[in-house]
């Protein structure tokens, strides 16, 4: 495990990539936080102002509370789904895994409208409750409303990472415990859960940071007294020269890095790796009929809850007029015919951008995980931390940073570098890199070093070991990372909105934004949203299929 020239070159290449496409652009914007407004030298007075402003302090604690509670509720939703589908012979497990992922792909704007129509003060649920029982429930009120929506929205992070981790557990561990007389919940609590911990922690820390930095959901509920919305509102309305927006951004970045650091501390000194491979993960057991009924009831209940927004979205896309009533007045196909003409170019761009971005993320995320966990290069942790800060950098900041850093750079024919669509891809890749990184990290933590050592003892070079041992064993985790990055990249908006230069280069999210600028456009927007969700769902289902196949191929039949 000493450093080789190849590893050093790899680390430098990644550092260069992060430097050029993340740190420099962000720095061109964020340095404002350290200057007094209207020019002047460096100062920390803005951070003092942050501490002195009641609104910001209140927002900070609100954000902490909401993020922590969301992790709790997201775990409650994710645990049963992950456990039931990976541990038992469960018909439709793959479908559940795919459907359980959908909440993450909520198209911007129309998603919000659909939620309001279902759960809002005068949404379907409350109108019906009011009619039958004379009361309403404030699903969407205040901080608890944010927690409700965030848990539904982000629990797939835990689901995906936990499922990947559960699949990676060596069945012999469980068999050993069973031989010693352990079973049922105790078996789960003492064997499966601890061994799957890296996956769970990867998911939970992502949820925490993501909720802490999320702008869209609080704003759709009109909750402004949280930190990320404060940063967003200030940067986009008060002005680019106002330092406070960037001070908040710096605080967000610090919180994200601190979370990753604490996560690393928790995991430190523990070994989650198991050596026996090739078993294809946990044995799947049969459920007794009564257990099966219960399991299906739980799964269906959870899916009904988390997919409600998508049901609302589909209704909205077929609705003529839907106003103050439990269901739309009538149904039409007009919205689909309207968007169909425009959407083919959007769809093509979305698939291209999200596919490229997710590929970049998996390659770089996998490489960083390898460098951090398997080498002793000095400062390797910094790569991880730097990449993780991308979680906390608001999309607008990254977008403006790209304009500043790359608009002055001309292509040979005189067009600015920043007008090329590849810049959009890079921006999305940077924004989604942490997802792939966490997944790769968790996957590698579960693989024992001794397998690589064995390969090297047998004469394999480092590169060959990586290719023949590490990557095949990480496939599940890497694919989970690819899927997460891909699906969320497909609906990314904030940075895209700033960087899109022409309609022919625009992805779906931009098309949605344009449609939603008018009240007359929400049906069409919903139709486009449904198309986006369908496309991502199909891609995910295909990749689930691939995971299943590859596991079966090297699994039990051998």
């Amino acid at each position: 495990m000493q450093r080789s020239p190849g590893q050093v070159a790899l680390a430098l290449a990644i550092a260069l990539f992060l430097g050029v496409f993340l740190i420099v652009p962000v720095a061109t914007v964020v340095y404002v936080a350290f200057t007094e407004k209207g020019g002047g030298g460096l100062t920390l007075v803005n951070f003092l102002d942050f501490g002195r402003t009641d609104l910001f302090v209140r927002s900070f604690w609100n954000s902490v509370y909401v993020s922590a509670m969301t992790v709790v509720w997201a775990s409650v939703l994710a645990l049963p789904l992950a456990y039931l589908t990976t541990r038992f012979e469960f018909r439709g497990a793959m479908l559940v895994q795919t459907l359980g992922f959908l909440p993450l792909i909520m198209p911007p704007f129309v998603g919000a409208v659909a939620m309001q129509l279902l759960f809002g003060r005068n949404g379907s649920v409350n109108l019906l409750l009011d009619e039958w029982f004379d009361f309403k429930i404030g699903f969407m009120e205040g901080l608890n409303g944010v927690i409700f929506l965030q848990a539904i929205h982000y629990f797939p992070f835990i689901l995906v990472n936990l499922s990947a981790a559960l699949r990676n557990i060596d069945r012999s561990m469980e068999e050993a415990a069973q031989n010693l007389g352990s079973h049922g919940l105790r078996l789960f609590r003492r064997i499966a859960l601890p061994l799957a911990l890296p996956g769970y922690i990867a998911g939970a820390s992502l949820v925490f940071v993501k909720v802490f930095d999320d702008v869209a959901t609080p704003l759709l509920l009109n909750v402004k007294e949280m930190l990320a919305p404060q940063a967003y509102l200030r940067i986009t309305s008060i002005g680019i020269d106002d330092p406070m927006g960037y001070v908040i951004s710096v605080v967000l970045i610090l919180v994200a890095v601190a979370t990753m650091w604490v996560t690393a501390l928790v995991m430190k000194g523990k070994d989650y790796a198991t050596t026996q491979r090739g078993g294809g993960g946990l044995a799947r057991r049969h459920l007794r009929p009564r257990e099966q009924a219960l399991a299906y009831a739980v799964v269906i209940l959870i899916l009904a809850l988390v997919l409600a927004p998508h049901v609302g979205l589909v209704l909205l896309s077929f609705a003529t007029v839907w106003s103050y009533s439990p269901l739309p007045d009538g149904y039409t196909l007009a919205h689909y015919t309207r968007v169909l003409g425009d959407s083919s170019v959007y769809i093509k761009n979305t698939l291209l951008y999200a596919g490229l971005a997710a590929t970049i993320d998996v390659v770089i995320g996998g490489a960083i995980a390898y460098l951090v966990l398997r080498t002793r290069l000095r400062g390797r942790q910094w790569l991880d931390w730097a990449a993780s800060t991308a979680l906390a950098v608001p999309g607008v900041v990254l977008g403006i940073g790209y304009l500043r850093a790359f608009y002055g750079v001309n292509m040979p024919d005189g067009t600015p570098l920043a007008t090329l669509w590849i810049v959009i891809v890079l921006a999305i890749a940077i924004r989604r890199l942490p997802y792939a990184l966490r997944a790769a990290y968790a996957a590698l933590q579960q693989i024992s070093v001794s397998l690589e050592e064995a390969a090297e003892n047998l004469g394999a070079t480092k590169a060959r070991t990586v290719r023949r041992v590490v990557i095949p064993l990480m496939t599940g985790g890497l694919l989970a990372g690819f899927v997460t990055s891909f699906a969320t990249a497909a609906v990314e908006l904030s940075a895209v909105l700033i960087l899109v230069q022409s309609n022919s280069d625009a992805p779906l999210a931009y098309g949605l934004y344009v449609l939603m600028q008018t009240p007359a456009g929400r049906g069409a927007g919903a139709a486009l949203g449904v198309i986006a969700v369908l496309i991502v769902a199909i891609c995910m289902w295909l990749s689930q299929l691939a995971v299943d196949r590859s596991q079966r191929a090297r699994g039990l039949d051998i």
Binding site: D54, V363, R467, N503, Q517
Partner: protein, 441 residues
């Protein structure tokens, strides 16, 4: 392996970058706009038909983002036109020397619409359509909750409207900013703020997107919204059960278009402006999804029967003369005051407003002079302002927002002061109101 794939990726990027170059064509007019597809599509179609060989490339950004985009890319500008509603945004661009002057050749355009001059006096941007502000409401919502129909701003401050009204924050929406500024100019600083806060006490939400308000009204999440007219008209056009009214204190403001400085296709940009002002271009504005008020008086002859006509309709004429210079001086102060006194203090403000409505109801049944006096004290506490009209427009306050030398305090300090001021007054007002309610019952 990783290194190899990183290299492969790098070279793939290189190929892509090289092949992506060279898409500029002649006749392409690039416009940055805040207008929706519903507006830009018909106009684009008509323009490309009217000017053969031209293509309109539309970049959709909200007004603030559009301004920022043009500012950030000024060194290497690729945009020909800026096209948006809020005159403020054009003032900002003009102030930063990001527009180049152009005097349209079209004749027959009105000098003023309502009482607002159509064109910039220095010729940096031209008005092509007008819009006014008002109140829209959802008829089903109003019927189901047995609520009244509003006619004027003051109505929204009445008890029945409590928790049923929505507005977008003026700091987020150029149109709302103008609405508030209009109220302040029409009623005066102190009286205007008093009215604004009375209405604000009844607010359900303060949204951060201007189209969040019509959306909430259309879907029935709130009953009433303070919006620009075309939001209501296009909602009606889409079939939603909504109505709209212009209050007595309103102003018509032109939507504008201007040539960006160093435009790559200046001739094309000018052709587009001429088209917008031509009879054909003006008629496109009458389409149901657009519904803006043309600036060419003769176009109204072709409009549907119930179309508002600012050159004929009495309620749209001789309205308040909008003082754009005053508005520009105190823009940041007004927006920040609204945010700190209302948006971020909405809960305490609503709490005291609710009690005051109850006091009024109790007093109607049985009068009580002491309670009445206490309620008035509470209302005065709510109406209190941390700064005067003169201070709001003063260079010291302005400098706090722009970072100028004369500033007396940093923006963050001002904000905290104003927020603390509002919190203290609302708490005191709540105590008075509670006491009044006890007496009145």
């Amino acid at each position: 392996m990783f290194r190899r794939s990183a290299l492969a990726l790098g070279s793939a990027l290189g190929v892509v970058l090289a092949s992506g170059a060279g898409f500029a064509q002649t006749g392409k007019v690039t416009v940055v706009t805040s207008f929706s597809k519903d507006v830009t599509d018909p106009i684009k179609k008509a323009f490309e038909k009217a000017v053969p060989g031209a293509t309109l490339e539309v970049q959709n950004r909200n007004t603030n983002a559009g301004v920022k985009f043009i500012e950030e890319t000024r060194g290497n500008n690729q945009v020909d036109l800026f096209w948006a509603s809020a005159p403020d945004a054009f003032e900002v661009l003009k102030g930063k020397k990001l527009l180049s002057p152009y005097k349209p050749k079209a004749t027959g355009i009105a000098e003023k619409v309502g009482s607002y001059p159509v064109n910039d006096k220095d010729g940096f941007y031209s008005g092509f359509a007008a819009s006014g502000y008002g109140i829209m409401w959802n008829e089903r919502y109003v019927k189901a909750n047995k609520l009244p129909t509003p006619k004027d701003w003051q109505d929204l401050a009445q008890a029945p409207y409590f928790d049923h009204v929505s507005i977008s924050a003026p700091s987020r929406s150029g149109t709302t900013h103008l609405t508030i500024e209009t109220i302040l100019q029409g009623e005066g600083w102190d009286k205007g703020w008093r009215m604004t806060k009375d209405i604000a006490g009844n607010l359900r939400t303060v949204t951060d997107r201007s189209f969040g308000v019509p959306e909430a009204v259309n879907s029935g999440q709130v009953g009433y919204g303070i919006v620009i007219d075309f939001f209501a008209f296009s909602s009606q056009g889409a079939g939603f059960p909504v109505k709209f009214v212009y209050p007595s204190v309103t102003t018509l403001v032109p939507a504008n278009v201007g040539v960006v400085a160093n435009a790559p296709n200046k001739a094309g940009a000018e052709a587009f402006i001429e088209f917008l002002l031509s009879p054909t271009g003006q008629e496109v504005l009458l389409e149901p999804t657009i519904r803006r008020l043309p600036v060419r008086p003769e176009t109204y002859a072709k409009a549907p029967a119930d179309y508002p006509n600012p050159f004929k309709d009495k309620n749209l004429q001789g309205l308040l003369t909008f003082n754009a210079e005053l508005s520009e001086k105190r823009t940041a102060a007004v927006d920040t005051l609204f945010d700190q006194l209302i948006t971020f203090q909405l809960e305490p403000l609503k709490a005291v407003t609710k009690v005051l409505h109850e006091v009024d109801a109790a007093l109607k049944k049985k009068d009580n002079a002491q309670a009445r006096a206490l309620a008035k004290e509470a209302r005065d506490l709510i109406a209190a302002m941390p700064i005067t009209a003169a201070q709001a427009a003063s260079p010291e306050i302005k400098a706090a927002f722009t970072g100028g030398k004369q500033k007396s305090a940093r923006q963050a300090e001002l904000e905290q002061q104003w927020a603390a001021f509002a919190k203290e007054k609302y708490t005191a007002a709540k105590a008075k109101a509670d006491e009044a309610l006890k007496l009145a019952r």
